[in-house]
């Protein structure tokens, strides 16, 4: 059908300098914008990625997560991902893209390109540090708690499921709480009667560097279950690490802020799609009298004459 095909083509575009096609329908924030890194008290704009420090000193999470762990995990592992990413990106078409854009582009719909690993891990670790805070834990409140209770039955059941996902991610990886907005999981299909209930919280786990951005979810919370995240403090006792993380480290404020952003973006996206759909319909000049025609015709003038039979 003419309407549908043109809708699809108008939603993907080629950025000539990139040679990569960034499907805007499947990712909300894809714009070829440069990631400007603000250096303290400097007006220099650079296109390289910097290792962002956690929002607390390296010893601030003790005794639940030791300073030594932070020193290695952030100071070595995370730093290496960022440094290697910069080496991979310099002088290529990826240079200057935001980290999220690099992740989507190099994910390449599953046919993963080399920079994906470092880009995703750089992002994942930023997200992880920000998911924690000194004196964290406890319970969320407000909208977030309501959604959790709606989508998991109770806060306790949510905790159980999240812990289980984290404990059963075989090998290296991550467990996530994410906001899954309003879609059908069929390529290019759009839910014809979207409602608030279609937007829901989900728990997912991912291996190695994978993260839910590539599935078009909005991540809200993560726990790193690579062994390097807990080995110095807990050795093989991953379940203990997960419990301590939930009880003493999670920053529910951050999760809440992320949820608000996710909801806003989902609403924005919905409006965008509505607007586009309307544009398509209005862009096609149809005669009022021919409204009853079930033959869809692209008529290229406003003439009363139609070729409908």
């Amino acid at each position: 059908m003419a309407a549908t095909t043109s809708m699809v083509t108008s939603l993907t575009f080629t950025i000539p300098s990139l040679g990569f096609r960034l499907p805007t329908r499947s990712y909300p924030c894809v714009k070829p914008q440069r990631r400007f890194v603000r250096k303290a008290a400097s007006n220099v704009i650079t296109a390289t990625y910097e290792l962002k420090a956690p929002p607390y000193p390296l010893n601030a999470l003790e005794p639940h997560m030791s300073r030594e762990t932070l020193e290695y995990h952030w100071g070595k592992h995370h730093r290496t991902y960022v440094e290697n990413l910069n080496k991979q990106v310099v002088g290529t078409d990826l240079e200057g893209l935001s980290l999220e854009d690099i992740i989507i582009v190099t994910y390449n719909k599953g046919d993963i390109l080399p920079a994906f690993n470092n880009a995703a891990q750089a992002w994942n670790h930023d997200f992880f540090w920000e998911s924690m805070k000194p004196g964290g834990g406890g319970k969320p409140s407000g909208d977030l708690l309501d959604l959790i209770e709606r989508d998991f039955g109770s806060f306790e059941r949510f905790i159980e499921e999240f812990k289980s996902a984290a404990a059963t991610q075989f090998g290296s990886g991550w467990a996530w709480l994410a906001y899954k907005a309003n879609r059908i999981d069929v390529e290019n299909a759009v839910n014809p009667w979207p409602s608030e209930k279609d937007k829901k919280l989900v728990i997912v786990k991912s291996p190695n560097a994978m993260n839910p951005l590539v599935w078009d979810y909005f991540p809200l919370l993560t726990i790193d279950v690579w062994e390097h995240a807990y080995y110095l403090d807990f050795q093989n006792q991953r379940p203990d690490y997960i419990s301590v993380f939930m009880e003493k480290l999670v920053s529910w404020e951050t999760v809440n802020t992320r949820l608000e952003k996710a909801k806003a973006r989902a609403a924005e996206r919905e409006m965008e799609e509505e607007r586009r759909r309307k544009e398509e319909e209005e862009g096609k000049p149809t005669n009022e009298e021919d409204d009853d025609d079930d033959l869809e015709m692209y008529v290229d003038n406003d003439n009363d004459d139609s070729e409908a039979e």
Binding site: F170, S172, P207, A209, H228, Y231, Q235
Partner: protein, 231 residues
């Protein structure tokens, strides 16, 4: 008369022999942690005693415990004809069973220096390595490169294709055994590159672990396996 007594005899047998009452239930083999043929500290300084103890007593034991549990659940599901559960258990069996298989090989791949650890392979395996890789150093370099490049958790293997009688270097993710890379592949040597295998000692510097482990590699065992497959 004779019929009745034979029936009675059979009934008695049935009563005494409990396995006859449940014809489907053969006793399930459970697996247990194999002993290490050396002390935990015997591989120092290449691999610390702390790591060896945790690796053996905790990690390997956990794989075995969970493997046994999964097998029991599988057994039950098969008896009940519960296909969904049978299929659902496959990943737990692959992961924990693979962990048991791989680590059982790994302990034999290591030996203290005074018991031959690090001594280069001779005889047929030595020849095969030189022929196929040029030299032992070249093999080690290649294995270390593969091991260092492996993303996440897994193993790097020296194996032999028993059909083609050829040596291969392969990596497997997580606890996948070498046979998942080819049905004719037999492991000669596996190096565990999961972080738990080296983190307490080498932290994030996996390449240092890989460099040092060759000092305690037990080539004697690898040669035995090679000779058996390629006799």
């Amino acid at each position: 008369m004779a019929l009745r007594s034979s029936v009675t005899r059979r009934t008695l047998t049935l009563g005494l022999n409990s396995t006859m009452l449940l014809p489907l239930s053969r006793s399930l083999q459970t697996f247990s942690l194999p002993d290490l043929p050396y002390d935990y500290g015997a591989l120092e300084p290449a691999i610390s005693g702390e790591i060896m103890q945790l690796h053996h007593q905790k990690h390997h034991q956990t794989y075995i415990t969970n493997y046994n549990k999964a097998l029991e659940q599988l057994h039950e599901a098969i008896q009940k004809g519960d296909s969904s559960t049978v299929v659902k258990l496959q990943s737990a069996i692959k992961f924990n069973g693979g962990g048991h298989v791989n680590h059982s090989i790994f302990w034999k791949n290591l030996a203290p220096i005074r018991e031959g650890g690090g001594e280069p392979p001779k005889a047929s395996l030595g020849w095969a390595i030189d022929t196929h890789f040029g030299s032992l150093e070249s093999l080690i370099q290649k294995m270390n490169a593969e091991g260092a490049a492996l993303q996440g958790s897994g193993w790097v293997w020296l194996g032999v294709n028993k059909e083609l009688k050829k040596l291969v270097i392969e990596t497997t993710p997580n606890q996948d055994p070498l046979v998942t890379k080819g049905p004719h592949l037999v492991p000669l040597l596996g190096v565990d590159v999961w972080e738990h295998a080296y983190y307490l000692q080498y932290k994030n510097v996996r390449p240092d672990y890989l460099k040092n482990i060759w000092k305690v590699i037990n080539w004697k065992y690898a040669s035995e396996v090679y000779e058996k497959e390629c006799a």
